[in-house]
Amino acid sequence: MTWAKLKQALGRMDWTLILTMLALLVFGITFIYSASYRSDDIPAGSFFEKQIVWALLGLGIFMVCTLVDYHHLRNVSWGFYALGLVLLVLVLLVGKKVYGAYRWLNLFGIQIQPSEFAKLTTLLALARFLSRPGRNLDEPVVVGQVLLIVAVPFLLILKEPDLGSASVLIPLAFFLMYAAGVPLKTLLILVAIGLLLMPLGWFALGDYQKERILVFLDPGRDPLGAGWNNIQSEIAVGSGGFWGKGYLKGTQNLLGFLPRTVAPTDFIYSVVAEEMGFAGSVLLLALYAALLTAGIRAALVARDKMGRLLAVGVTSSLFCHVTVNMAMTIGLLPITGIPLPLLSYGGSFMISTMVGLGIVQSVYVRRFRR
C-alpha cells in the first residue's frame, strides 16, 4: 500500500469514534487501578495489568474488524448465531460455577463469558434477518420471527442465571425493529403486551433476583447482605461532590466499603464518581454521548441496510449498558450484573465491545459516497 493510499484510508476512518474509544479505555484502566488500590506498599493487584492486555488485544481485534468488509458478515451471521447458542448450552453443561451461576466457560485455558459473545451474535443475526431485501416488515409474522431469534439466547442466558445480560437483548431487538422500519403501531402493541406480561415475569425470577428487586425498593431491608452494595455505591457517588475527592483518594473504595471484587467491574462508575465528582461523571457521559453519536452517524451514512442495522445494533447495545449500569450505581434501577462498556474490568465484554465498535468502523469506512 502506498503512502497516499494509506493516508486516504486513514482519512476515511471515523476518528471521533477512535479517539473517544481510546479516551474511555484509558479512563477505565486508570480507575481500575484506583479501584484495586489499597496503599503504596500493597500491589494494586493484577486487575489493571490484565485490563491493559485486554485493551491492547481489543484494539488489535478492532483493527481487524475495521479492515474486514462487514458484508462478509452476511454469510456467517447465522453460523455465529448458532455458535453462540452452542456456547450458551455448553456453559450450562460444563460451565464454571461462580456465586451460584454458570456464567463462565473454560476454553483452552481461557475463561470466557458466552453471554457476552451471544449478545453480539444475536445482534448480527437480527441485523441480517431484518435487512434481507424483500422482507415485508409490515407483516406481524416478521415480528414473531424476530422475537423467536431473541427468545432462544434470552432463555438460555436467563437459565445461567444472568438476568442482566439477558434483559439487554429485549431493548436491543426493539431498537433494531424500530430502525429497520417496523410500523410504530406494531411496536406499541408489543410494548403493551410486554407491560401486561410483566407481573408474570416475577414468578420466573430466582430468589436472589427477587431479593435484589426488593432491596432496590427498600435498601434498608438487608443492610449487611444484598442491600450493602446499593447503599454503599450510592454513598460513594453522593460523597464525590462536584469535583470529587481526587484520584486514589476515594475512601469508600479504599476502606473497603465498596466490595473489592465489584469495584473494578460492575461498580467502576462509583469509583469514578467518588474520586472525580460530578465533573467526572459529566465527562464520562459526554464521552459516551460522542461514541453513540459516532455510531448513529455511521448508521446514517451506511451504504446499505445491513450496515445501518449493524451500526444501530452496536450503538443501542452500548446505550443500554451505559444507561443501566450508571442508573443502577446511583440507585435508579435494581442491581443487575451489567458492566460499563470500555471501563469495567473484564475480558469477554472488552472483546465483544471492541468487535462491535470495529463493525461500526467497518460500516463507516465503506460508507455511501455522496
Binding site: G181, I235, V237, G238, F242, F278, L292
Partner: protein, 609 residues
C-alpha cells in the same frame, strides 16, 4: 418517490433514536447532579457517619477429643488492641499526633503491663501508608492483661479491643502427628464479594486430622454490622448474621495409650501404632521425635520452623504413615499364610537350616550362623529362621506372596485419610521390569520371603496386618474418627467400623501361624521374649532390616504383637531406627507399652501371687 420516502423515514427514525438516547443521558446527568451536588452534603454526612464497620466473625472451629472425651484440640480467646490514628488526630502537624499516639501507647502499656511493641517509625509508616486502617498495637494478649485493662479505665477514644479465637493443643506434643496443626485460612473465594473492615480469618487445617476433617471442623463465618462512635466504641449492632460453629470430633485415639507409646519411644527415632483388632480403631499412632503443635499457633516463627525442618531426625514427619521401610522378618507370617492358604506347603513341612542357603552361586545367610537344624513352620516362626523361609518362599512362589500381601493391603494406602500417607512398595515381576528394567529372579523371591529387598511397608500397614492375624482374617480400614458431634452438641454421627477385606482364612492355617507367633514371645528362647509381661499371653514377631548405605550397617528394629492371645484387644506395630535388632532393641520397649496397657492385669496377678 415512494422508496425515497421510506429511506427518509428510516433516517428520521435514526435521528429520533439519537435524540432519545441523548435525552436519557440528560435525565441521567440530572439524577447524578441531584445526588452529587444537590444532596451531596447529605451523602458526605452519611459518609462521616460511616462509622459503621462491617466485621466478619469466623465460625468457631470444632474441638477434637480422644475416645474417652479428653480434649486434644480446643480454642481459646486471644485479644488484640488496635488504634485508629485518625481518631487520635491532633491539631497541627503530624508529629504532634505521633507524639499523642506514643503517649497513648505508653499509657496503655503501663496499664496492661506489656511492653510497647510499636516504634515511632512504625507509627509514621502507618500514617504514610494506610492511615484509615486500624494500627494493631498488641496481639494475642492474655486474660491478665485484659483484666487490668478492664478494671483500669474505659477505653480511650480511638482505641479498640477485638477478640479472636485461636487454636490450642492442651496435650502438647502428644498425638501431634495425628492431630496436625492449623494455619491461617486462605480467604474464602465465595466470600470475596463481601466487604469487611475486619476480615477475621479462620484457621484451616494444614496437616493431620485438622486437615483431613477440615470440612467438618470448620464453621461458617457470620458477620456483624457495628456502628462505632468517634471514640471507637461499639454503639449498636445494626445487623448480625450468626456464625455457625464447626463440628466437634471424637477420635479413636486413646490419649492414655498414645502417651504410653510416646513414652516408650522417648529418646529414639521410631514408631508405635496401636489398633483394636476387632474394629480397626487406631488407639495410638506415635512417631518419635515429635513437635509441639502449639508452636504453629497463631503462626510459627521462622526460627522454630527452621529448627523443625532442619532437624535431621525429621520431627515433622509422621513415620507411622508417611514412612515406608523394609519390614524384615515381621513379614514372615504373611509369607507363611500365603504358603498355607495356597496349598504350597503344610505346617508339618520341615527344612534343615545349616546357617546358610545356596541359590546357584549365591549364598543367603540365616541370621543364626550355626544354623537352626531341622525346623517346622511353627519353630521357624519362633526362631525367625531365614533358611526355612527361603525354602518356603521359593516353594510358594513370588506371585502367591504378592497376592496375599496385596489382599492384606500392602503396597496401597490404608485409607486412614491422612494426607501424608504413602503406599509403600509391593514388588512383583511387572513392577521390577517397569522400575528396574530387569526381570524377577529367584534371588528376589528369597529376599521377599524374609521381608527384604524391594518391599517397603508403613508401620500403620503392619499394624493393620497384625490386627488381621489377631482376628483371624478380617482386614479393617483404620478408623480414626469415631463420631462427629454437631455444633449444638446434639446431632452426633457415628462412623461405623469398616472391613476392607475378608480373607476367609482356613482356621487351621491361621492357628499354626498364631501359635508360632505365641512362641516368639512366650516360648523359651523366642526372639521376642523380652516383650513378655506377666499374666497376659502375648503373640508377636520381631524383625530386623537393613537400611541406608550398606557400609553404614544401619538396622531397623521391628516388632509386631497382639494381645491377649485368645481374645486380642490390641494389635501393635513398633519400629525403631538405628536398632541392634528387633528382639533386643524393640521388644523391651514393646514390653513398656504392653505393661501399661495391661496394668490392671499385672497388678491383679501380683495380688493373687
Amino acid at each position: 418517490m415512494a422508496l425515497r420516502d421510506l429511506w427518509d423515514d428510516e433516517y428520521l427514525r435514526l435521528r429520533v433514536m439519537l435524540i432519545g438516547m441523548m435525552a436519557v443521558f440528560i435525565v441521567l446527568a440530572a439524577a447524578i447532579w441531584k445526588i452529587q451536588v444537590a444532596e451531596g452534603k447529605d451523602y458526605q454526612r452519611d459518609l462521616m457517619k460511616q462509622s459503621v464497620r462491617r466485621v466478619r466473625i469466623p465460625g468457631m472451629r470444632g474441638r477434637i477429643f480422644d475416645r474417652q472425651g479428653v480434649r486434644l484440640a480446643d480454642n481459646r480467646p486471644s485479644y488484640c488492641i488496635a488504634v485508629y490514628l485518625e481518631e487520635l488526630r491532633q491539631p497541627g502537624r503530624w508529629p504532634k499526633t505521633i507524639a499523642a499516639v506514643e503517649k497513648q501507647l505508653d499509657e496503655l502499656s503501663q496499664i496492661i503491663g506489656v511492653p510497647r511493641r510499636l516504634t515511632r517509625e512504625d507509627i509514621q509508616m502507618h500514617i504514610g501508608k494506610r492511615l484509615p486502617l486500624p494500627l494493631l498495637a498488641w496481639k494475642d494478649l492474655d486474660d491478665v492483661a485484659m483484666a487490668r485493662l478492664a478494671e483500669k479505665t474505659l477505653l480511650t477514644p480511638g482505641v479498640e479491643v477485638s477478640t479472636e479465637a485461636v487454636r490450642v493443643y492442651p496435650q502438647g506434643k502428644a498425638a501431634c502427628h495425628v492431630l496436625g496443626y492449623v494455619g491461617r485460612a486462605e480467604i474464602d473465594k465465595n466470600e470475596e464479594d463481601e466487604p469487611y473492615h475486619y476480615y477475621l480469618p479462620e484457621m484451616a487445617g494444614k496437616s493431620g486430622v485438622e486437615r483431613r476433617f477440615d470440612d467438618l471442623l470448620k464453621g461458617e463465618a457470620g458477620g456483624r454490622l457495628v456502628r462505632v462512635d468517634v471514640a471507637g466504641f461499639r454503639h449498636d449492632d445494626l445487623g448480625v448474621r450468626e456464625p455457625k460453629n464447626g463440628n466437634d470430633l471424637r477420635l479413636s485415639i486413646d490419649i492414655r495409650v498414645q502417651k504410653l507409646a510416646e513414652e516408650a519411644l522417648s529418646g529414639v527415632r521410631g514408631v508405635a501404632v496401636v489398633v483394636d483388632p476387632q474394629n480397626g480403631d487406631v488407639l495410638a499412632m506415635a512417631s518419635s521425635p515429635g513437635y509441639d503443635p502449639n508452636l504453629f499457633i497463631p503462626r510459627i516463627s521462622a526460627g522454630d520452623w527452621a529448627t523443625l525442618t532442619g532437624d535431621p531426625s525429621k520431627p515433622l514427619i509422621n513415620r507411622a504413615a508417611a514412612g515406608a521401610y523394609a519390614p524384615g522378618s515381621i513379614f514372615k507370617p504373611v509369607v507363611a499364610m500365603s504358603a498355607l492358604e495356597n496349598g504350597k506347603s503344610t505346617a508339618q513341612q520341615a527344612y534343615n537350616c545349616p546357617g546358610h542357603f545356596e541359590l546357584g552361586r549365591a549364598r543367603f545367610r540365616c541370621w543364626f550362623t550355626p544354623g537352626h537344624g531341622v525346623v517346622n513352620l511353627q519353630q521357624a516362626l519362633k526362631h525367625s529362621c531365614n533358611v526355612y523361609f527361603f525354602h518356603l518362599g521359593l516353594q510358594t512362589g513370588a506371585d502367591a506372596i504378592y497376592h496375599m500381601s496385596q489382599a492384606l493391603g500392602l503396597g496401597q494406602k490404608t485409607g486412614i485419610g491422612l494426607d501424608y500417607e504413602v503406599a509403600g512398595t509391593l514388588p512383583n515381576d511387572a513392577w521390577k521390569r517397569r522400575t528396574q528394567n530387569d526381570g524377577w529372579r529367584d534371588g528376589d523371591t528369597c529376599n521377599l520371603s524374609i521381608g527384604q529387598g524391594f518391599l517397603t511397608v508403613t508401620p500403620l500397614q503392619m499394624a493393620m496386618v497384625t490386627a488381621t492375624l489377631a482376628n483371624g482374617g478380617t482386614l479393617y480400614r483404620p478408623r480414626l474418627l469415631l463420631e462427629t458431634i454437631g455444633a449444638n452438641g446434639l446431632a452426633t454421627q457415628r462412623i461405623a467400623p469398616q472391613a476392607a477385606n475378608d480373607l476367609h482364612w482356613n482356621p487351621a492355617h491361621i492357628r499354626v501361624v498364631r501359635n508360632g507367633m505365641l512362641d516368639v514371645v512366650q516360648g523359651e528362647r523366642g526372639t521376642g521374649r523380652y516383650a513378655a509381661i506377666p499374666n497376659v499371653q502375648v503373640a508377636g514377631k520381631t524383625g530386623t532390616a537393613e537400611y541406608g548405605r550398606k557400609e553404614e550397617g544401619k538396622k531397623l528394629g521391628w516388632m509386631i504383637v497382639f494381645a491377649p492371645f485368645e481374645q486380642p484387644r490390641y494389635a501393635i506395630a513398633m519400629m525403631v531406627e538405628d536398632a541392634v535388632s528387633g528382639g533386643t532393641t524393640v521388644a523391651p520397649l514393646m514390653k513398656k507399652v504392653l505393661s501399661g496397657l495391661f496394668e490392671d492385669a499385672a497388678s491383679a496377678g501380683k495380688g493373687e501371687g
